[in-house]
């Protein structure tokens, strides 16, 4: 095994290159992905290498991008579309939910939608309005879609190829604040040998608390686990990776061991992934729980202006506060009646 140190952005580029090279039914579509190489340069160099027929600069119309991808899928292609920013996915929502998600079901399996929808996602980059959204819950709630979120360059490289190869539609969330973060990537590893896309991963073992995160917050969760060690608290950190389906086998095994659960995500708390995970784990592991599970999430507000975003996004302190709460140690809500 030989690894290269790559940013997440470059790992994604490598994943796309590999997919384009191995399957000539793969086509990329999106605004500015061709000549410019994408506003985040994720598709940099790919049009020059594979041509404008396979790496397509589209008109400025998200519904059009996804709708034509549906048509290409009817014709047997494997489209990988880029939605330029999370907050711009909504014009395509009808095509994604009514068509992409439902055509396999509608046709009783005769028509497949092997479409990958890549979305630069979430905040923490001081961006303008609509450029820091976390809309994953809408897609997790839509049957017929798979939803994944990567947290590191290796997963970005591997899971993107898995998503593209998958015969089901995959909404693929890429945390933009990690695009320039480096990590080791084994470019030669066979994607078929990699952990399946639908599995969560225990990224740090622990015994006292199960801390579930995805995307950029996996790093924050690991930082929290490191800090908690100094207080003699052992946190098991799980990277969800797959948001739909959720790997409850891995989660439940952890919670049965620790008895305490904290879930964190940038997205607003109401009806978010935290609610779903906690409801399911409570159903599966109630008698193993030592304390009520705790969520650490974005507030139920529109994403705030850049100067205030750090008060909205879960950070180290808020996560550790939640860990204290689930351990029945003094915390910000001690003595507070909710």
């Amino acid at each position: 095994m030989s690894t290269t140190e790559l940013t997440m952005g470059k790992a994604l580029t490598a994943g796309l290159r590999s997919a384009l090279a191995h399957d000539d039914r793969v086509v990329l579509m999106g605004e500015d992905i061709g000549r410019l190489g994408g506003v985040f340069r994720i598709t940099d160099g790919l049009q020059a290498e594979f041509g404008a027929q396979r790496v397509i600069d589209t008109p400025l119309a998200e519904s059009g991008i996804v709708g034509t991808a549906v048509g290409l899928a009817f014709r047997g292609f494997r489209p990988v579309v880029e939605i330029q920013f999370d907050g711009f996915v909504y014009p395509a929502f009808d095509q994604i939910v009514c068509q992409v998600a439902k055509l396999h079901y509608r046709t009783q399996g005769r028509v497949k939608m092997p479409i990958t929808i890549r979305i630069p996602w979430a905040g923490g980059v001081g961006a303008a309005e609509h450029h820091s959204e976390s809309p994953e819950a809408y897609f997790v709630h839509t049957a017929g879609l798979r939803v994944v979120a990567v947290s590191n360059p290796q997963d970005a490289y591997t899971m993107l190829q898995q998503a593209i190869a998958c015969d089901d539609p995959v909404v693929f969330f890429e945390p933009k604040r990690l695009y320039h973060t480096k990590g080791d990537v084994d470019l030669d590893a066979d994607v078929c040998d990699a952990a399946p896309m639908g599995l969560a991963r225990v990224v740090r073992e622990g015994t006292d608390v199960t801390l579930v995160a995805y995307g950029a917050l996996v790093n924050t969760a690991l930082d929290a686990a490191l800090a908690a060690e100094d207080d003699g608290i052992s946190i098991e950190v799980i990277d969800l990776r797959s948001l739909s389906p959720v790997d409850y086998r891995t989660l439940a095994a952890s919670v049965r061991k620790t008895g305490r659960l904290v879930v964190t995500h940038e997205a607003a708390g109401e009806a978010g992934l935290g609610a779903e995970v906690i409801a399911s784990i409570t159903e599966l592991c109630f008698h193993h729980l030592e304390a009520p599970p705790v969520r650490v999430t974005g507030h139920d507000i529109p994403y705030p202006p850049a100067k205030l975003e750090k008060h909205h996004l879960p950070d180290l302190d808020r996560i550790l506060d939640a860990v204290d709460r689930v351990l029945d140690r003094p915390n910000s809500l001690s003595g507070v009646t909710l």
Binding site: V27, Q53, R54, T58, P59, A61, S63, G64, V66, G67, T68, A69, V70, G71, L72, A73, F74, R75, G76, F77, P91, D94, Q95, C98, Q99, K102, L103, H104, Y105, R106, T107, Q108, G109, R110, V111, K112, P114, A143, G144, R146, C166, D167, D168, G198, S244, P245, V246, D247, Y248, R249
Partner: protein
Amino acid sequence: MHTLTTTTPPASDLDDVARLLTESGQRVSDPRLDRWTEDLDADRLRGLYRDMALTRRIDGEGVALQRQGHLGLWAPAQGQEAIQVAAARACRPDDFIFTSYRELGVLVVRDAQPDDLVLGWRGEVHGTFDPNRLHVATPQIIIGAQTLHAVGYAMGIQRDGGDQVAAAFFGDGATSQGDVNEAMVFASSFSAPVVFVCSNNQWAISEPVRVQSRFPLAGRAPGFGIPSLRVDGNDVLACTAAMRWALEHARSGQGPVFLEAVTYRMGPHTTSDDPTRYRDAAELEMWRRRDPLARLEAHLRTLDAFDDAFVDEVTEIGDAFAARMREAALTARTRTPIAVFDDVYAEPHSGIEGQRARFAAYLDGFADEEDAR
């Protein structure tokens, strides 16, 4: 192109259309279209009549089955047989067609079977026929969404180096939807081999076409860079010619085409609609005089090609198909409850499998109760 003058839209004139048959079935010339119908001899015309008559007969049976409680809903196609049949017949079998929920004539031409036409409206399944067999997509309920699918399919044809064409059928109401306009943007930008067939049947449920557009619909396409033709949608000859022209244009790499077929929705929007609430008998009567079948019949009679024997033959075909539809509806068996989980995903999915297992256990509980009794 630089002007500050306001645009005065041309008055909407139902007769400002390309036409090869008058209302009374007389053949008239249109130099743009004549050459496209030279091969339409009496036999071929009778074939078109057969298809249109079958479509009408099926449509009537669908409405009847709904009124009798065997189907939940039916969207009548009455009055629109000419454009549907002509356009579908003009296509090659390997051209792929994307329709709305009303293109019964297209399904008939593409050899949809009786089950295919009733099981969806009965609520047994969402999609009936295999799109890969008929080369027709499952009829679309989301207004206009299919136009983008057709353009994407056409973009796929280009990448395959194929010479097929994709066709999208939609109504006048659909032209207000963003998707239809985006489809025209994409089709034009990529010069995609796609034909847009807009059946302007004058009504989108209760809204007349003037609510959708102050400008003739065919007049919008050139604004996107797409050539267009406004054709008499009840004239099966003109519709055939127009579609042949359009397909040749697209197939030869010259890009998309937009046809506006001016026709009329003789029936309600669906069997749940009551059009007496918003349109009058006089309008209906005017369009009855423009009926596409009557017009072709009149023309065939001028060719001495329409007799009682032909009527009997056509009637027999229609009645036989209708009887099979009725039987399919009445003998339909609803699938087992656990089937609700089928085909949500193409690949194994832990979430669905878990739910299926739990629901199966729940259903088994009833079986045990049954046994206990």
